[in-house]
């Protein structure tokens, strides 16, 4: 098995704050992997260490067989990295931005032009190539960022909230690009807060307080949610939720979906449920909420 990423006890402290606390992970090459976790859980810090942009303060790791402690410069040449705030030059055109990144990756002039044409075609930006980057909408900007990040044909793509703020169609198009890279043999690691996107990952690691608390396929993760989910239709789901809380029912993990209240219970169906209550299949978001609230409850316990 080819290994794309392997870390052992990877740790990063900022002063007395531990952002990443002993992350151990092995990702085989090929496929799409997801890092999920609450804001501030250490996902971005971990990715920046894998990208060779930040040195760990403890532990070790390798990316594409290169040591992240000693070979970060080489790593940068072999990976593509897109963060939410990817630096595009607003006053340069789409083409000029690609040309600039082609230069950073030391692509020869002759080779560069061909790669840029391919990146434009890939990201459906050929018609926009002479527009200043400043005039691009959010979805276009992110596609251009991806185009810039793959000019050197990286074997590993690190995408840190690359679709944040993008509209649903722009996200779908971006994910089609991700699949194409995965199909062509590129290993892709993404972080996202859109859990519908995460359903498409081959494997997911949940990260909280800088450590991995679950690591599996989306199917197995969803199956690990204890209890069952029920959807209770109601013309006033907010009122229903507040009423049930006031009656002393445990409503942690309950949430509103349109004209329904969704409740997770362990054991029999909730006894307050009326007609029309349906058992529903959990989504990754349900597991996410469960894991975060479980951890929080533990922390708040005296």
């Amino acid at each position: 098995m080819n290994i794309a990423i392997k870390t052992d006890g990877l740790t990063r402290k900022f002063g007395d704050f531990t952002a990443v606390a002993g992350l151990s992970l092995t990702l085989p090459a090929g496929g799409v992997y997801g890092f999920l976790g609450p804001n501030g859980s250490g996902k971005s810090t971990a990715i920046r260490m894998l990208a060779g942009l930040l040195l760990p303060t403890g532990g070790s790791g390798s990316v594409l067989g290169l040591d992240i402690l000693t070979q970060s410069e080489e790593i940068k040449k072999q990976i593509g990295y897109v963060s939410q705030k990817f630096s595009l030059y607003s006053d340069l055109t789409v083409y000029e931005n690609l040309d600039f990144y082609g230069g950073l990756y030391s692509l020869k002039k002759t080779e560069r032009a061909g790669r840029i044409e391919k990146a434009l075609a890939l990201t459906a930006l050929t018609a926009q190539k002479d527009l200043p980057a400043a005039n691009l909408s959010g979805g276009w900007r992110q596609r251009l960022a991806l185009g810039c990040a793959v000019l050197h044909k990286p074997r590993l793509l690190l995408l840190d909230e690359a679709t944040s703020g993008a509209d649903p169609d722009a996200r779908r198009l971006f994910w089609q690009l991700i699949y194409r890279f995965a199909a062509a043999g590129t290993t892709v690691l993404v972080t996202t807060h859109f859990l519908d996107e995460a359903e498409h990952c081959d494997r997911i690691a949940f990260i909280q307080d800088g450590a991995i608390i679950a690591d599996d396929t989306p199917e197995n993760l969803k199956a690990s949610l204890p209890g069952a989910l029920y959807k209770i239709p109601s013309p006033d789901p907010v009122g229903l939720l507040e009423g049930l809380s006031a009656q002393g029912h445990d409503m942690s993990g309950a949430y509103i979906r349109g004209q329904s209240l969704c409740v997770r219970t362990v054991g029999a169906p909730p006894r307050f449920a009326g007609d029309g209550t349906q058992k529903i299949a959990p989504a990754l978001e349900d597991l996410f909420i469960y894991l975060v609230e479980k951890k929080r409850a533990k922390r708040h316990r005296p």
Binding site: P38, A121, G165, D169, R172, A184, R257
Partner: protein
Amino acid sequence: MILETLDLKKYFAGKQILKGISLAIKRGEIFGIVGPDGAGKTTFIRSVLGLYRPDGGSVSLFGGAGSEYPKSRVGYVPQQFSLNADMTVWENIALFSRLYGLPEALWAARAEKLLDMVWLGDFKNRLADSLSGGMKQKLALICGVIHEPEALFLDEPTTGVDPVSRREFWQMLYRLNRAGLTVAIATPYMDEVELCTRAAFFNQGQIRLVGAPAELLALYPYKLFAVRADNLRLILRRTLDLPVRAAYLQGTRLHVALDGESGLPALEEALAAAGLGAFAITPVRPTLDDLFSFAAGLPGPAGPGIGRAADLAPAAASSGGAP
């Protein structure tokens, strides 16, 4: 009526961003403002609040004319909310309260209540800079309502916020709404639109659809089918070459929009002929995500065609890492 715009127009650098928006938001609503990037959502909110001067049409807040409304009646949480990074959570709230001329006896009690509502009670003395993204947005919301406005305008406040924080953010919005606050919120999350009383779908500076979530769903014009299969990504690529209205992955399924039931046998036949493994097709009801795609102009055959990734991927043979 909280807000009424009539044929609102706005240009930037000769380009028309708002092409005549007529919209009314009633007291007590949670109103969603939805649309693709560049649809004019932010420009609309800013024009309504008098931050931009409209180039045509009219705006009326609380029945008044133009931007002539008492600022104390409106709250605004912009995309990039300016919290003072080197001030604590409490100091940020204090600053906003003083800007609105609130006496400390009044705002301090409100602040305590609002902080507890979103689990920020323990973080009063933390610097805004060291808050997580979700916490920052909750603080922004508190600063936006500390003067108890009648109407609150929010511009994609939950972008980059994790699912748990997003729910807490919405629970707070709900409670404020039930206490009388009218909310207008731009969002890229369709599950949030589901929580709105009504929503308007913007595209290219115009309103394409407006109504309650259930009414909006009834406007979906196609027959929608869900395809389940092991090989969804390959099936998607094949489907995009077929004469379908739209095809895209939605969660763990592939959604395919057809003009009617009659197109189904041809679809099944083509997918079976492609030999991409077993699959199952069932009719499904559209969700707001599907409606978004319809209202925004469809991806797939009609959308931008993306190119080959193989051109910019390492050769398959060398795609692996260390042995």
